[in-house]
Each structure stands twice: as C-alpha cells, then as structure tokens.
Point group: C2
Chain length 450, copies 2
Amino acid sequence: MDATEFRRRGKEMVDLIADYLENIEQRPVYPNVEPGYLRSLIPQEAPEEPDTYEDVVKDIERVIMPGVTHWHSPYFYAYFPTASSFPAMLADMLSGAIGCIGFSWAASPACTELETVMMDWLGKMLKLPEEFIAGTHGQGGGVIQGTASEATLVALLAARSRTVRIILANDPQRPETDITSKLVAYASDQAHCSVERAGMIGGVRMKKIPTKQSNKYAVHGETFLKMIQEDKAAGLIPFYLCATLGTTPSCAFDRITELGPICNAEQIWMHIDAAYAGSSFICPEFRPLLNGIEFADSFNFNPHKWLLVNFDLNEESHWQIPLGRRFRSLKMWFVFRMYGLKGLQDYIRKHVELAKEFETLVRADPRFEISADVILALVCFRLKGSNEMNEVLLKRINNGKKIHLVPCQLSGQFVLRFAICARTTESRHVREAWRIISQLAEEVMQELPH
Amino acid sequence: MDATEFRRRGKEMVDLIADYLENIEQRPVYPNVEPGYLRSLIPQEAPEEPDTYEDVVKDIERVIMPGVTHWHSPYFYAYFPTASSFPAMLADMLSGAIGCIGFSWAASPACTELETVMMDWLGKMLKLPEEFIAGTHGQGGGVIQGTASEATLVALLAARSRTVRIILANDPQRPETDITSKLVAYASDQAHCSVERAGMIGGVRMKKIPTKQSNKYAVHGETFLKMIQEDKAAGLIPFYLCATLGTTPSCAFDRITELGPICNAEQIWMHIDAAYAGSSFICPEFRPLLNGIEFADSFNFNPHKWLLVNFDLNEESHWQIPLGRRFRSLKMWFVFRMYGLKGLQDYIRKHVELAKEFETLVRADPRFEISADVILALVCFRLKGSNEMNEVLLKRINNGKKIHLVPCQLSGQFVLRFAICARTTESRHVREAWRIISQLAEEVMQELPH
C-alpha cells in the first residue's frame, strides 16, 4: 500500500470509525461468544501472498466485532471508564505517522519536550504543589507511564532505592540484602491488585491495611501508625505506602492528610494512586479530595480513564520501565486545547451528575440499598437480601447484553457497581439502564426466596 | 468535536500524514533545536476555553515538526529501525476507535484472542519450536509486551520465581531472602542497557560476560561455563542468562547452541533477546541464526523494529508488567495480511542488500575499515586512524542534517553505525549517504593530522 492508496483507505477508515461510534448503542454491549471463538474464524498461519484490503476490512465485522466488549457504548457501566475522544484519535494518527521512539532527547526532541510541558499543564490543572511542576523549580516533573500498574511499581522501586541509600549512609557495612529482606510496603485492603503485584516484582513484603464500612473503606492514620509501630518493633523497615484516592471497588479515599505526616516523619515514601478519581481534581469542588498531596513523594492518575485522552496515558513522577516511548503527549495537547479546561470540567461534572441521578433512582426503590457513599461517578448498590440474589441479578443483567456492569465485594457483601463510563452516556441511557435493572430485580425476587 | 466534524478532520489528517510521508526526504532528518526549545512556543497553561482546530493544526508545523527527528526519512541511519507501514496505521486507527482495555478475556474477548493467534502466526513464521505455539500443545504461547525492556524484565522475574521455587522444594526452611541475595544473572557486555536495568529492578546481581573482537563480540559457552563455575564455588546461585541475537553495537550473535545446553543442565533460565535481528528469521536463509532456540525458556523480538508493525509491539512469552492493554494485535493482523509472508521477506532482504551495497562502498575506499561482520542490515565502519578523527567525522555528518547516524564503541574504538532503517530507503539514498560521508572524510583528513 502506497501513500496514494493510504489516502483512500485512510478516509474510508475515518468513515468506518465514525459509523461505528455513531451507531454503537445499537450493538449488544457485551459479546455473545465463548472462549476460543476466534481461532476457527481465521487461518492457522499468515498468508504467503498478500490478502486484499477489501478482505481485511470485511473481517472486521466477521471476526473482530462479534468479540468486542464495547467500552464506548453509552450502556457500558463496568469497571471504570476508558477515555475516547475525536481529538485524541486525530492526535494518535499523527503520532503514528511521526512514529518516533522517544528514548532520549536527541531521538526526538519534540517528543520529550511536549511531554514535559503537557505534564506541567496537567499538574497546574490539578493545582499540584510547585515541586511537582518541572517548569518552576526544576526538581520534580511528570512523566507519562503506560499504565497505573507501572506507575505504582516505579514509585515502589524508587522508594526501595531511597531507603537502602539512607540506611547505608548511616551503616555502610550493612549488607544490602539484609536491608531489602526487612523492607515492608503497605496499601489498603481495597487497593488495586496491581499494587500487591508491584511488591512481588520488587521483591519486598507488602502488607494490607484493613478498612471497614464504618470508616467508609478508607485507610486512617491511626490504623497505619499502629501497624508500622508493630512492624518496627519486630525489626522490619516500613518504607512505602501506596495510598489510594478513589479505590476500584467503591471509590473510597484514604485519609492522606493523616497518613502523609506519619510517612514524612518516618521517612516512608508516600505514593498516591488516584487512577480514576484524579481527573476530577481539575474541578475546584473536587480538589479538596486531593488535600494532603503536599506530603506525597509521588502521585499518579490516569487521564486515559476520565480525561478524554485515549489509553495509554498515565501521569506520574520519576522514571519508567520501558525504554522506548511513543509520542503520547500529542494526545494531551490536542485534547486539552480542543476542550479547554472548562470543557473538561463540564465533562467530569456531567458524569458525576448522571451518577447522582442513578443514585436517586436506587434510593427511591425500597428493594435496593446504596453500599458506599457516591462521591464521583460510581454507584455501589445492591438488592437488600442475600448475596446469591444479587449474583443472580447481575447475571441476568449481563446476559441481557443491553447494559454491562461488574460486581465488587464490600464487607463480605456482593455489590453491583454502576460506573458512568462513556462520553456519550446521557440521562436517557441511565434511566433505561435502571428500567432494565428494576425489571430484572422483580423477576429475580419472585423466583428466589428472600 | 462530534462525529460529523471528525469525518472531515480525520480525512484532512489522512492527507496531512500522506503529505508528510511522501515529502519526508525534503526535511532535515535531524532537528536544529536546542534543549528547552518548545516551552516558549506554547502557553504555560492549558486554555480555559477551547482553541480552534485550525490553530492546533497550524502548530504542528510551528511547534512540533522543528523538533522531530524523522525516523522514517530514507536518510535516517541511526539506532535501529522503527517500523512504519500504512496498513499498521490503519489498524491503529481502528484500535483507537474500539478503545478497549484488554486486561482480561471478558474485558474484550477479541483483543485477547486475536493476540494469541497472531503470536502463533508470528511463531510459525519464525519456525519456533512447538512449545512456543499456543495453538498446539497449549503450554507456551506469546504475548505482546510494550518494549524489549519489559520483556527482559518479565523473563528475569519469571526466572527468579522459578529458581526460588525449585530451591525451596528441596530446602523448605531456607529463608527466601537468603536465596534471592545469592542469585546471579548474566548477559553479554554487548547487551542492551535495559538488561542491566532489569537486574536492578528485580533486585538481583547482574554480571557482564566479556566478549572480544576475535570472537566477533559473541558470548561463547566456554567463557560462560567458567564464570558460573566460579560463582557457584563462591556460594552464588546462577539463575538467568539473557543471550542476545543481534547486539545493539554491532549485531553480534551469542552462541546459543553452546550456551543453551549449559543453561539446561544447570537449571539456568535462558532468555533470548533478538530485538532487532528477530524479524530476519522469517527468511529461511537467516533462520539458522536462531538455531539453539530449542534450549530457550523465553524469546523476545520487536516486530516494531523491522517487521513493518508500528511501535509498540514486542513478542514475548509469559506475562507482563502493565495490566491494561491496547488492542495491539490488530496491527499485526493488518500487516501480515496486506504484505503476506513473501512481502515481509522481500522487505527484510532488500534492507540486507542495501547494507551490503554500503559495505561494498566502504570496503572499496582504502581510508576506511569495516569494524564487524555485516550479517543483517547494520554496517559498523570507521576511518582508519584515531578515535578523535572519527568523532569529528560523525559530528560533521550529523551537523549537516542531511543524514543521521549514531556511534558505538567496539574494543575501545569509536565506530560509526550505518543501519538501514526506513521503509522507503533505496539504493540512491545509500549512495548519496556515502557521497556525503566520503566527502566529509576528505575534509576531516585534510584538517586533522593522522
């Protein structure tokens, strides 16, 4: 395919994409396939001679689409959102064409420099302390990581290295392996599984800090302090806390204003994982949720979740695992400029309002209960009654394939999570989703004893 | 921006991209900017109100392009290639629009399944042993990693975990930290810096195996065996070897037919990093370079280097660091089908021929010498004479901005690397590059004493 054919095929692809997104709500949001469905639909090996482009395009609907979970359908309420916007797609096309690998400044200066400045824009939108902004004192600064998992790991590795350095400075004879074998990291029992995995990769102990419903599933200073005192008494070395702002199960907020001073006093690295909630901090009314950031050593959130910047794009301070890098900051530049701060704030607020609307519908129905405070755009709810009944309800909901939700466990209870995800979700979709849930609940309650 | 505007802007972007790539050789391949150039060209903060799309597009030429190193210019001979092809760009557009996050099968079945099958296609193109193919015995299989750095790290972590498990099975009382503190990993002194970094991240010792010119910069079994015997005698536990096929400095090939049996006998995990050279193994004439793969525990190469599949795309076995994943296999599917195996083989062969052509030009000039065997599409060469003279020559070459090369060190010598990189490089570009180099060499030799 030469440039002339690309002009034609590229424009067809633009139309195909626009058609897909304009009509996405007519597709079942969750696919109707069994594991292994795809292998038999395509050859066992790559073709010797080229296929035609027409055949490749035909296979998008034949092979791919039947197996796609449509994350950008307005009826998708599972997990957390993943961003998608037209300006981000345009920027990604350009980034693919420039196709530079930004592993050093010289390898593509624009790639390195735009990223630094975009991280500053983002830091200022979030009103991060000056130490986090590269353009002010030049000490801190942001970097785009592929995923929050990488950010958590990178922060843990930086913390490990800092603690070893501090201890060796006072006790140069101590074997490094003696230090690392006593290191202990902490995170909420509500933290994302990638945090536990970061501990395994970094080869250090990772302890879960217990939370409870009466504390809104947040880690409090008191609990943490008690744990580190016990661990220190046992000869261990507390060195890293991954605090979560907006946990995956229920969007709980660890009390960083209490945890931060403890970490600072004990030379424990405080990393903040605000993967989902972070985007909301661009709105003044949600920024107080980030109070305590001034105690943090590193901070990560995912603009690709809720800030209209397509995956993969995470903000973090410090370095990274992969060496090569795509020109990912172009997306942020396009999106920030095409929406403006106001447009992005409006977008966040609209999602939060839709979640409130859903919460109101749930609360008005005496069969249901709300399982955790609704702070942003996630509603945790369940039928009053057994876990089994709620499991059956969720199964019916997802089998219907009209809307898609995933569950979580909170205090041993099976809970349904309703997250506003798609850019195109409107009040009518939320009301339709509730109509479906409500109707299926009636069926389930009639069938099952309660 | 709504779908209607995206149809228009997307088509304009397709033309912009085609224009850029059709005319890329008229641009200086290396930018003429100083560090920090970009910050003053754009505002300090994101705009409150949206910018117009026209302004954003205008800024591509004003802000971005002056700072781009044009990796896809036919005059780019630096580093190793990074792939770019029109089918891959089309697939990336589609992948961005579907925008699913493939962290589990249910999160998007097509994303998981196409990746498994594409890894099998690739494995079969390379004639990997059956254990590496998911669709045969179901034990092995490939996964797309973001970069070779991640692949090396993931393999090291898997090796660490396997060794600890084996030792604990025989000696359950031994503290795990006592084991990990004695682990030692190995790689060539020619290995990529990311290998050393993987050792640091994994918290294990990493030893460099010395190579020499007389051995063509390859690691031989004898040297390796001696090192592990000494280390075992000192109470250490050899557990991981990262063998390189096609090193970054000179494209040297470690002797895996000798190293593999040693690793297998000693229960040392052998990982093969064939980041650059791996693509060439789809040609029968280069496949013998991979002999010994049957001894390996894991194998990685970068289709995004030399197989026309845009970054980011690496093949590896086992798992990964990031949890979320883009729908990256779509690119492979489009590219493999639109080129066919024959088209891809032709592409590799053409690059190797162009390198041979350049080698012939260098050899015909008595002022120059070839510094390492030319096996694939990399030519290492230098002026006979001082390092200083070669440094000045390279500086002049890059300051001219017509062609771009980077150096390497081989046995203390400053060497120029000429790698065939761009899809559009033809014989005339190579001859023009040689004309420039040859002319600058004359200038330099006249000016400097030799």
